[in-house]
Symmetry: C2
Subunit: 147 residues, 2 copies
């Protein structure tokens, strides 16, 4: 009746669902490592560059501190990272990996990408399709993140 409101035509619902399903596809591998998906994202950021203030991580993941702070607190409690006040700026909390947090990288490397590839192996998309998909998503992200 109202094509504007037909759910199957909505990009939003596809994004929402694909995001949930892909996150869910990561879950078994991440559970084996004792972490959640958002925690994995934080680790990805820290594995690239250790010792970053909370705000840097938040900017990288496009999340607010009211999401990041409790996330980091839980990860600290699990012994994955430490938080210490910045020396030049005492307002900053510098987040650093612990040995345990660093060690997870090797395990993740050997299990996570392989596990996800396996689950998506039945997907008929090719490398070029994924590239285009990523490009489109980047455009949407760029547009909406600077408003």
């Amino acid at each position: 009746m109202y094509p504007e409101l037909q759910i199957d035509r909505q990009l939003c619902f596809r994004l929402y669902t694909a995001s949930r399903l892909v996150t869910g596809a990561y879950t078994p591998m991440l559970t084996a490592l004792g972490i959640t998906y958002p925690q994995y994202l934080v680790l990805l950021v820290l594995w690239e560059k250790d010792r970053q203030p909370v705000g840097e991580i938040a900017r990288r993941l496009l999340l607010e501190t009211n999401t990041i702070t409790p996330l980091l607190q839980r990860m600290e409690k699990q012994g994955l990272l430490s938080r210490t006040r910045g020396e030049s700026d005492r307002r900053q909390q510098i987040v650093a990996l612990t040995d345990k947090g660093r060690a997870l990288q090797e395990q993740a490397l050997t299990t996570v990408p392989r596990g996800l590839g396996l689950k998506l192996s039945a997907c008929p998309l090719g490398a070029e399709d994924y590239r285009q998909l990523a490009e489109g998503l980047d455009q949407i992200i760029a547009t909406l993140s600077q408003q």
Copy 2:
């Protein structure tokens, strides 16, 4: 160092972020209607076809009942819908729109698509790009939802 773990190459992070940002783009219009994004999805399903059991709505949205049930309970409390036991099968809860829930469709129609279009107007993607994007997401959803 490990290209497999570089966050920018990960499709998952893009999906996760794009989904959050697009949902966030809906929020102002939906807040004006007094609903949240998942509640909007439930309404979209009911606007298409009123009087559906909980399980049907769950299948349509690819959500579990442990997500849907509390969501419907909150919506019932807000007077957007009613839940009554099925007559042929007393286990089923038949979800039906109230007048208030039905009335929201007109308002949504005049504000939501327009509002979102406005926010995405700065996005350089064309109609064909959106079509391809939707197609790729559908492939991923189809692959992961039947495993």
